[in-house]
């Protein structure tokens, strides 16, 4: 398939240049924000910064990391991500194990499948859900963030397809012969074999929990409990300081362009950290989850 014709060479060259530019376009905004965050205030305010910091200083990062409300929300975000991922993964792995059985092996499976398909298709909507969370007394607690988001049917489907394609049936049968029950098989056969798959879904869940901001905005009334995403939404996007108990000096600090950029970039850091692992697996996961033979 090697072509040396002139038109094809021209096309290839243009193609490489075009794709290269496209790739740069996709990360340029993040690089720009990083550059602004490390630039001097004067340079940032005079709009001189492109993709490289000007008058390099870590001043903005110092101010950001020295700010109590920022640190508190960072901690809240981490806590929410860990707790949410653990709860969600526990529920999904257990359910996916059962649902990975065939209809004839597991009577009642059809009912359970219908139960979960329904919640994928239809939901009560914003206001009935809000009133329910309120009636349960969860407003202003971390549980309002981690419990309603725990059951993600899409992840459930991915997991159960991993279980179906990744674990040889014969292993399971052998374990049964040796007297293991379903709990034991899940723990000693399924989990070790599906570790990479579970890591993938776990990372997806973590990203979802970390990025989630709207639930914090509506279910939390005390801004001290905001996770970082909600904090950033309020401070940077809405520029609403009324909820925050910060003094005027802090407001001035937090709304400087360089400090804002540092806050945004810190919000993206956890994603950047898990991204290499994510990328390794999600292509496989997407294809496996969407194409069923």
């Amino acid at each position: 398939m090697h072509y040396k014709s002139l038109p094809y060479t021209i096309f290839t060259t243009c193609n490489y240049i075009f794709l290269g530019l496209l790739g740069i376009l996709c990360i340029a905004p993040l690089v720009h924000i990083l550059a602004v965050s490390f630039s001097g205030q004067a340079a940032a305010n005079a709009n001189l910064v492109g993709l490289i910091p000007i008058e390099f200083t870590a001043d903005a990062w110092g101010k950001t990391l020295g700010n109590d409300s920022f640190l508190r929300s960072l901690w809240n975000g981490v806590l929410r991500t860990i707790l949410g991922t653990l709860i969600s993964m526990f529920c999904l792995v257990c359910a996916a194990y059962s649902l990975s059985k065939e209809d004839h092996e597991f009577k009642g499976r059809k009912f359970y499948v219908a139960f979960f398909v329904f919640i994928m298709l239809f939901n009560g909507g914003l206001i009935p859900t809000y009133i329910l969370v309120q009636n349960l007394g969860l407003i202003n607690t971390i549980w309002a963030l981690v419990l309603p988001s725990a059951i993600n049917v899409f992840n459930l489907i991915l997991l159960l397809n991993f279980f179906r394609t990744g674990v040889p049936k014969t292993l399971e049968e052998a374990a049964f012969m040796d007297g293991a029950n379903h709990f034991r098989i899940l723990l000693s056969v399924y989990l070790p074999i599906s570790l990479p798959a579970m890591a993938t879904i776990g990372l997806f869940t973590m990203v979802g929990q970390w990025n989630s901001w709207f639930d914090g905005l509506i279910y939390l009334t005390d801004a001290n409990k905001y996770p970082l995403s909600t904090f950033l939404q309020t401070i940077i996007v809405q520029q609403d300081f009324s909820q925050m108990n910060v003094n005027p000096d802090e407001v001035k600090n937090l709304s400087e362009r360089t400090v804002k950029s540092a806050q945004i970039f810190i919000g993206a850091i956890p994603i950047l950290m898990v991204y290499p692992f994510l990328q390794k697996y999600f292509v496989k996961g997407m294809v496996l989850g969407s194409v069923k033979e």
Binding site: F18, I27, K107, P148
Partner: protein, 324 residues
């Protein structure tokens, strides 16, 4: 001779087999299977509480719900809320905005990833290919809060880097990307495509790598050049997966992207940028119009559900696609 014999044995075996498929009678078999039901419990309980328990609350849409009266005391209003929704200038505009923004997003989310996948497929240097992929998948995983914060800074009229660059390159006046209705729609669609085209291309790249290389070889022998091969082999091979993606996307025709719009819009662009989800939030949780907002939300849920069921049926019919 040998083959004749084997055919004979096969047919005799076939005769002995029962003609009807063996039906395994389903049994609860609780002695062995009770753990399976126990394992379902955590997920079932959470779903019952947070996904099923809110459903009765939908009756609010047929009431004139007052929080201080509660469900028992609030008056029934029949279909009044839905009538208001259809008569209100605002809500009609909002439904229209949602349809326009969502359908343009769907269209470009199919075209751009296909073109990108085709171009990337022509790249022979694996290191280059992998680097580009790493870059273009990244924005998909960043939240609209982060991206919204970045865009507010970069697209700002005074001092946003985009307007400065446009001014230097083309000498244009600063553009109100997020303050003018039409530009807002453009910005929303363009940035959404920017965020997700790479991720959307994954499925097409997988389909491209599944094409049998023999086809290209045969075409080369028949004198087809690269362009002919794309036109007569690659594109037709992508058709089935394109049909699936397009049909499934239909279910999203009322999802114009709450996260994105909420983080980018402002009162200046409500007229052209407000969508059903943001409207429900403002009317309901901020404005206290619980019943009206629930009715609008219910309208969206029902239309959405009908579309999803229909599109999955169609995808199954056309391409044999199913998920569970």
């Amino acid at each position: 001779m040998a083959s004749n014999v084997s055919i004979k044995t096969d047919s005799t075996v076939a005769k002995k087999l029962p003609t009807e498929p063996i039906v395994v009678k389903q049994k609860w078999n609780l002695k062995r299977n009770w753990p399976l039901h126990v394992l379902m419990l955590p997920a079932i309980i959470l779903a019952l509480i947070f996904n099923y328990a809110p459903l009765p609350g939908i009756t609010m849409a047929f009431m004139d719900f007052k929080p201080y009266l509660g469900f028992a005391e609030s008056e029934w209003a029949g279909l009044d809320q839905f009538r208001r929704m259809i008569q209100f200038e605002d809500s009609r505009q909002v439904i229209w905005n949602t349809l326009i923004i969502a359908s343009l997003k769907i269209l470009f989310h199919i075209i751009i990833p296909i073109v990108f996948a085709l171009l990337l497929n022509e790249v022979r240097k694996m290191a280059f290919k992998r680097t580009i992929q790493t870059f273009v998948y990244l924005p998909h995983f960043l939240s609209w809060v982060i991206l919204g914060g970045i865009m507010l800074d970069m697209l700002s009229v005074d001092g946003g880097i985009v307007n400065i660059m446009l001014g230097k390159l083309f000498g244009t006046e600063p553009i109100f990307f997020l303050g003018d209705g039409d530009w807002f729609r453009f910005t929303v669609i363009a940035s959404d495509v920017w965020k997700d085209f790479g991720f959307g291309a994954v499925i097409f790249l997988a389909a491209l790598s599944g094409i049998n290389p023999d086809l290209y070889e045969a075409a080369t022998i028949d004198g087809a050049n690269r362009w002919h091969q794309v036109l007569f082999i690659t594109l037709p091979s992508l058709l089935p997966i394109t049909v699936v993606v397009a049909t499934l996307a239909l279910g999203n025709i009322l999802n114009a992207g709450f996260d994105q719009i909420f983080n980018l819009y402002n009162p200046l662009v409500y007229e052209k940028g407000d969508i059903i989800d943001t409207y429900v939030y403002r009317m309901g949780l901020l404005g206290g119009e619980f019943s009206f907002a629930t009715a609008v939300g219910l309208f969206k849920s029902i239309v959405g559900m009908i579309l999803i069921v229909t599109s999955y049926r169609l995808a199954y019919k056309f391409a044999g696609y199913r998920i569970f």
